[in-house]
Symmetry: C2
Subunit: 335 residues, 2 copies
Amino acid sequence: MAATRADVARAAGVSPALVSYVLNGGPRPVSAAARERILQAVEELKYRPNKIAQSLRGSRTHSIAMLMPDHLNPHFAELAQAVENESFANDYMLMIGTTDNDLTRELSYLHSFMDRQVDGLLLISATAHPDVTSITEAGIPVVLLDRAPPGSLFSTVVIDNRQGAFAAVQHLLGHGRKSPVCISGPPDIEAIIQREAGWSDALTASGHSAPLPWRTSLSRQGGYAAMRAILAADVQPDSLFTVSDVQAFGAIRACVEAGQAVPRDISVVAFDGTEAGLFTQPRLTSVDQAVRSIARTAIDTLLGQIRDQDTSPVHHVLRPELRLGESCGCQTQRQ
Amino acid sequence: MAATRADVARAAGVSPALVSYVLNGGPRPVSAAARERILQAVEELKYRPNKIAQSLRGSRTHSIAMLMPDHLNPHFAELAQAVENESFANDYMLMIGTTDNDLTRELSYLHSFMDRQVDGLLLISATAHPDVTSITEAGIPVVLLDRAPPGSLFSTVVIDNRQGAFAAVQHLLGHGRKSPVCISGPPDIEAIIQREAGWSDALTASGHSAPLPWRTSLSRQGGYAAMRAILAADVQPDSLFTVSDVQAFGAIRACVEAGQAVPRDISVVAFDGTEAGLFTQPRLTSVDQAVRSIARTAIDTLLGQIRDQDTSPVHHVLRPELRLGESCGCQTQRQ
DNA sequence: ACCGGCAATCAACACGAGTTGAGGAGTTCA
DNA sequence: TGAACTCCTCAACTCGTGTTGATTGCCGGT
């Protein structure tokens, strides 16, 4: 249906090779007359090179893939948007696969990506299953996000989760809170462990002893259920640190339903700094991940490795900042 | 780097054709002995057919594309997740392009999708620019969402936006509210116009006259800015209908900052029924779009048209339901 | 007149798969 | 014994592109 290079060549009365030369700035000069006729034929036939054929011939698909947990967590949604913007700006097509923490689904997507010959791979908070690395040993450039295995062969882009969490909990304690509990996530995610550690650091640094974190899924429902469990337990916390914004949303909902006011009775600090947290009531105090910086850094290093296949892995560590709302007890401007 | 069909054939001591026969159940029988050796070679070499080559030969890429406004609106994020789940279940790769209401970007993505020979296209709330249809006249199956041009050549999946909005506003009036204002969106989106109409219908049906809607972007910032403008104007509304959940989030934030309690001073009803609205304070009363049904219907019809290229377009209309929270003034269970 | 060199062009191959027409080996039937 | 037929196998073509070795025509130099 669509016109091919041969059609253009026929219409212009030249060989197919010349058409390639003109469109790609081939290695040989082309006479002005031929160039003219070819460009006109391209215009008339609305010819566009078939990317599939180009990929087969050149083994470059100009597409990258990203594996992430889900779209429902606004943090990942924001990350997806930022990464897509960067890909688009660099003229790369982005394919997104969500895993929902299902190893089978994750491997299935990875195989699909390899079969489709993506030029690069972005792995976000994926599980560190050995099969994953065995698949990607095929030599395709990979950048890991939120996960930094020591001495990784892959490039990594992480934020300082431990320091970020530390600063957040320290801020809570600065408000005079004595017993912050922690709602945490799946312990197989490196970033989560680091945030738990930051929370624990802050407590011990102030002479408190850290209780066990309440681990649940990174979701509104998870935060909601965990907070209900906490409130049903005998200890009554005066403050809360969650390792994600969504968990805070759920937890605050649970507090309100139990008649506990936020931040009066329980003050809350979270982690992610999503846009959604700027419009809740009260506004969420949260560690800002600066997703746009993460996305830009990740895409830049990935595309860099695609250009120069054998560069040694780079490890970026970004520094998050605490974004203040009212959920921690601060009185921010009410205009 | 990766093994090819020729490698397998060589390892098994047969011709490449036989390998295809065994793996695809070719049109010719294969002896048990040969089949055995081939399968073993496939196993040993970890052979996986190159999808690029398959696509070039067969002109089927087993991938579909979706064009949507953005990832930041949780409604679209939920829709993306639902569509991706359906695609995955049907073994199709999904490519997502976001437009952010930028016609240039939209056309750019459409061209990219065509160049990559996607098998089908899902257009969500895209602008109805003539260039769009001219591109898609190439014969590739298309399903439109939230947009139903009368007598469209494309299949459509829409919800009854007008009826849904009507029911929502009627519910507001049932609470004794007299002057509901409307925060609306870009008027070039069919669905938005319909929701405005439903709002207007409900007002006139109750003997009220409908003022002009306040049009802004479908975002938290849009709702926030619009509500501030409304509160700054001379008329003081007692209730609000927004054409999207995100706008309600922003608007409620603006109300709270202005000292107006929701739902006491201003009761709110929105449209989308996102999960996020279940965890706000107060919970959002909203018209539930049932994204999973939409996604399933859309993918089913799209894949159907991919299988039978020349089926006539189908038009699905789903019926939304009002999901009650407390933002409208209802006292729902506080458990 | 002859040859070298340059500019311009083209035929042909490769990428990796699916598919088909042809043909070899073996079996059945006359 | 030869013909017809079945069962299996393979070489060869196709998809649409990028690239290269070869070829043509022309010009200038000796």
